[in-house]
Point group: C2
Chain length 590, copies 2
């Protein structure tokens, strides 16, 4: 890393920069990066899915959030980088403190949204310096062994899974564009394009995304900018005449041609470069949310039915794994990698699966306390008796994406573990059972997942729920359940995770995660339209970790009813031995 | 009202305006207006504490929030004004729709904050028109019988109540100014000035506020702009040499003299005129929160002890009233006005009281459903058997401000009333018992007050809690408990109300309101600094309205413990008959 930093600093000096920002981002502003865009990992060693680094002449800092605080300390050389919590000790403060009077802080305008730049700019100015767009990314200039850009084939996502034709979606979004007074919209979010065109690809790991750019016109026409090597001949018929395929390298030029347009672009989701080019071209820019994100988030009937079906298969696979684990782990000798592999094998026996939805988090004992733990041969450890084992995993099925976490006791858990687990479960039930008026956002609900922990002075340092796509990103927006203020109201058809946790560093981790779907409720005597959640995930919750004395009776009723549903749905799908185990694992308590 | 509208429209035409905005505001941006600033009431007839009107050439609209939706319809002529909900149907949409291309929408820059103008400006521009500052308020020009400005004497607020000298406060805030890089701050919020100078006045009803302006310098010096008629000779000694008293009419000129200053001013709390004048003077404006608001909100030990003492006296008065009511109301013949008068009389027997803290809301039956009901001889009704009676009231004591609501059943309540009351009580207990980590805001907590209602499809259309001053405003910022996103973390010493409710239009209203004080908690095993609430208000909650079957056991425990506290604190302070009644009213349930 020292050599890489030296090379980058030499290139920065050549370009007249005093600093350079390395975000965890690519030109698509996508959470999931191909290896060719893993600049942050290359320069810092940190491989988490969120973070940033700032390299100054004689100082550098690496930032990430609470999910990765342990991992970043293990991966990043603290002699080379100050290591900081990205929200508690934000990069802007570090820049304001260290950049220095007159300092030129460089950024690559392909790798930042316009919105994100505002913060960096203020920080640079606070230090008395300035923020400078680079023409050529200095890190790329010195990254000699950089992998080439991905070029996975792109296939149609059939209407039997999508539930709505691309033509109908394009018409719907085009109408919204016209209503917003826009002639066109620049769309760079890979999941928006995949949703809009009903296509899926494989340019990033675990998420069936093609990387490309698109311009949607208020007429319903689309210009799609994509590496032609990725587009199979059979796709033309699927796309139809209203979609023109152009080379990805033509995108920047096409922005110039929008000079006489009123162009909608998302300042929080599109590269700053797009705004700069549109501005120079003389386009009238309408800054607004990506018009595909909200319709994509609200799953239609076919997608919801697909999610339910995928969750039955996924639940059966996870239950077979849990039954196997219950038999094998207490004997000793089951390792974290072996467990993850076993679970993956069960999943791949199911229909419609194409990939895991992310790399399985398989953490025993203290490794469970690392929120986004990635097991490696070095870190692999045997599931020990008296320990907790946390497994967070999911599948990409053509009819739906899954994401589920279970925490199980190997042998006898301690009273503290049961207390903590039960508090996490109370939070999980709080979200699962809430009813709320239309207009409520995930930030209003977040506390329900935390309050039982808060009563004991405990908490968890991550959000409570993220959106989930339909055979798309396992994380998607715009809705979420989080302490952070969020103005997006939860609407029927949105899918979010419900995943409170508790982590005791060096000891154990607990998380209980189900996916839930927002549903309209009929409540007798209700005075306003009310919504609630349908739990999609089907898998037993380890009763050995539940202290029934801590549950209220409505909470106990929820747990027993959920387990009855799991039992009835999954017993027909599993072998006899698993069924017998499941019957016991889902017995009524309280 | 027709004649007044005609006169205003003629004056608007004379000034070349197509529209004029009439906010509920004065030049101090204070919630509590003197009669001379009640422009909204004069032009619309609406006397609520929040709202606005827009007068166009041939159309007009009046806006208010959910607390006043019934009242505004009763007071405002729907033939003259469109009547709108201020958040669901915001004024900006109405303006955008009706102002018309090229329309000039006037505003008085003394009566709007800079922040509030942004919304009006966008609305005017959306309509293709423009927002225009008026030199002379056209409404004032035609308001011939306008009352004169108030001139109540100003007195020192002794350190035995304030707990900190004005000099120490000035030094503290001046230090914060210097840290923010400011040479001075323009302070126009009456409660900020009252707090900073340890003074109290009487320019508005029910809140001991003097109306004035101040400039605080980073040296700790203050220039105080105030009608000299209000400043008694004895105040000079209290204020000391660092406070220079100048005429209120010198304020605008003094802004010009700040041209070479870096001046802090609050864009959300200070009149737009101040920013305009400072800008023209060449001052470097630092837009930031009013630097007095946060320190004022965090009460010191003396103020908290004063609040506790005031609440004991206030609770004794309210309890005497409730005991009297329990004896008298079932006989019939107790009216809403008579009840309010009786309660006021009991309050005024207590020590240190100077005023009520707002006009008592005394509503029986359907009047209770009017959230901010003001009883008049016309609306006065007898408390009927089988009805609910809601009384929301408070006192201004020199050692603290109180605000309490109780809802009582006259005779036998219905099962529905008990169900609704118990759900409101569950929400109240949810707030009273929550523990939360430092950094939590009131918007995170709000749902705890609503969720039991939401389970039944019910809600209430007002916030859950507002800040309360120490012998100051019964509403104060910056903290609050509300669905609306709020970035102000709750900190020890802040006081907020806890007042969920439920209102069935035309039938009954329910609200249970106590004041609570944020307190640091010691929790064994806590992993982060935790806070909670100490309930200050002491008065029985009507057990006839509680359905114990709906309460969880921790909720029942809270209710019984609270009642035990009320009993122990108040029995020594009340007469024997009241004590006997109180013993029964606070009996343990469940």
């Amino acid at each position: 890393m020292k050599a890489r930093l030296d090379a980058l600093r030499a290139e920065m000096a050549r370009q007249g920069l005093d600093g350079f920002i390395v975000p965890h981002a690519d030109e698509f502003q996508n959470e999931y990066l191909p290896p060719s865009a893993e600049r942050l990992a290359w320069i810092t060693g940190f491989t988490g899915s969120a973070g940033a680094a700032v390299i100054l002449k004689d100082k550098a800092a690496a930032f990430t959030d609470g999910r990765y605080t342990i991992q970043i300390r293990e991966q990043v050389d603290a002699g080379l980088f100050d290591i900081r919590h990205i929200t508690d000790e934000p990069p802007k403060d570090w820049v304001a403190e260290h950049l220095g009077e007159g300092g030129r802080l460089g950024y690559d305008p392909w790798l930042h949204t316009e919105r994100a730049l505002e913060t960096w700019r203020k920080a640079a100015e606070k230090a008395g310096g300035e923020l400078v767009a680079v023409e050529h990314n200095p890190l790329d200039a010195v990254w000699t062994d950089r992998p080439s850009a991905p070029a996975a084939p792109i296939a149609a996502h059939g209407e039997e899974f999508a539930g709505e034709s691309s033509a109908a979606k394009r018409e719907r979004v085009a109408k919204a564009l016209a209503e917003a007074g826009a002639d066109s919209a620049v769309i760079t979010a890979p999941d928006s394009i995949a949703w809009l065109l009903n296509i899926r690809g494989g340019d990033v790991a675990h998420t069936p995304l093609p990387l490309s750019f698109a311009i949607l016109y208020a007429t319903g026409r689309v210009e799609w900018f994509v590496d032609p090597a990725k587009v199979g001949a059979d796709l033309a018929g699927h796309l139809g005449d209203d979609v023109t395929v152009r080379g990805a390298d033509e995108f920047e030029g096409a922005l110039w041609a929008l000079g006489n347009n009123r162009v909608l672009a998302d300042p929080a989701g599109t590269a700053a470069l797009v705004f700069e080019r549109l501005g120079k071209a003389g386009a009238q820019i309408i800054r607004a949310d990506d018009p595909c994100q909200l319709p994509k988030a609200r799953k239609n009937r076919v997608e919801i039915e697909g999610m339910r079906a995928a969750h039955r298969r996924d639940g059966a696979a996870l239950t077979r794994f849990l039954a196997w684990l219950a038999a094998e782990a207490p004997k000793g000798g089951v390792g974290e990698i072996a467990a993850a592999d076993k679970l993956e094998a069960f999943r791949f026996e199911g229909e419609h699966i194409t990939d895991l939805s992310f790399r399985t988090i398989s953490g025993s004992g203290p490794n469970g306390a690392i929120v986004h733990y990635t097991v490696t041969p070095d870190s692999d450890r045997t599931l020990g008796t008296g320990e907790l084992y946390l497994v967070d995993s999911g599948g990409q099925y053509r009819d739906g994406t899954t994401d589920v976490t279970r925490t199980v006791a190997i042998g006898e858990p301690t009273a503290e573990m049961r207390d903590r687990f039960t508090r996490v479960l109370k939070g999980h039930i709080g979200i699962a059972t809430v009813r709320f008026p239309d207009g409520t956002t995930g930030s209003h609900l977040d506390i329900l997942a935390r309050q039982a922990l808060w009563q004991a002075g405990l908490d968890y340092d991550h959000g409570t729920g993220h959106g989930v796509g339909s055979y798309l990103g396992v994380h998607e927006g715009p809705q979420r359940i989080s302490k952070i203020a969020n103005s997006v109201a939860l609407k029927p058809g949105m899918i979010v995770s419900n995943e409170p946790g508790y982590y005791k560093a060096g000891a154990y981790g607990i998380r209980i995660e189900n996916l839930v779907c927002v549903t309209a409720l009929e409540i007798e005597g209700a005075e306003k339209p009310m919504l609630g959640f349908e739990t999609l995930t089907l898998a037993p919750i380890d009763l050995a970790l539940v202290d029934p004395a801590l549950l209220t009776s409505p909470e106990t009723e929820w747990l027993n009813a959920y387990h009855a549903r799991v039992r009835e749905a999954l017993i027909p799908l599993v072998d006899e031995a698993t069924a017998a185990w499941l019957a016991g694992a889902t017995r009524a308590v309280g």
